[in-house]
Amino acid sequence: MVELEKETETAELQRMVAAEEQRARLTAQVHNFMEVCWEKCVDKPGSKLDSRTETCLANCVNRFIDTTLSITHRFAQIIQKGGH
């Protein structure tokens, strides 16, 4: 009985740690996007984030991910052909 409880606790703890690591990775990724997109989209910070800047930021994240996917895909193709 005690053994089983211990196992459940360990599993629960591992699940929590994994979830937090995942969250930390996502957060690190957001910091990353901010490095690129803050420069691309925000010129002079105004009294509020206007809708044009908001759209630019959301597009920036999505185009950056598109670029990542496109480059990774192309890179995998080059590797498979054994080329370059």
Partner: protein, 71 residues
């Protein structure tokens, strides 16, 4: 415990990056004190940085959900 540590690490990272960006944007030649317009600029820059952070974070999360739905 783990959660709290990561959250603190994230807040520190956010504060550091925000300070760096807003200092570069708001302070031209550093003078003998932060003048009024510099202080206003820093407060505004900070608020916009956090707004932008939230917008970027939301856009990233919805993209992740769309990608997962397509898998």
């Amino acid at each position: 415990q783990v959660k709290v540590q990561i959250a603190v690490a994230n807040a520190q990272e956010l504060l550091q990056r925000m300070t760096d960006k807003c200092f570069r944007k708001c302070i031209g030649k550093p003078g003998s004190a932060l003048d009024n317009s510099e202080q206003k600029c820093i407060a505004m820059c900070m608020d916009r940085y956090m707004d932008a952070w939230n917008t970027v974070s939301r856009a990233y999360n919805s993209r992740l959900q769309r990608e997962r739905a397509n898998m």
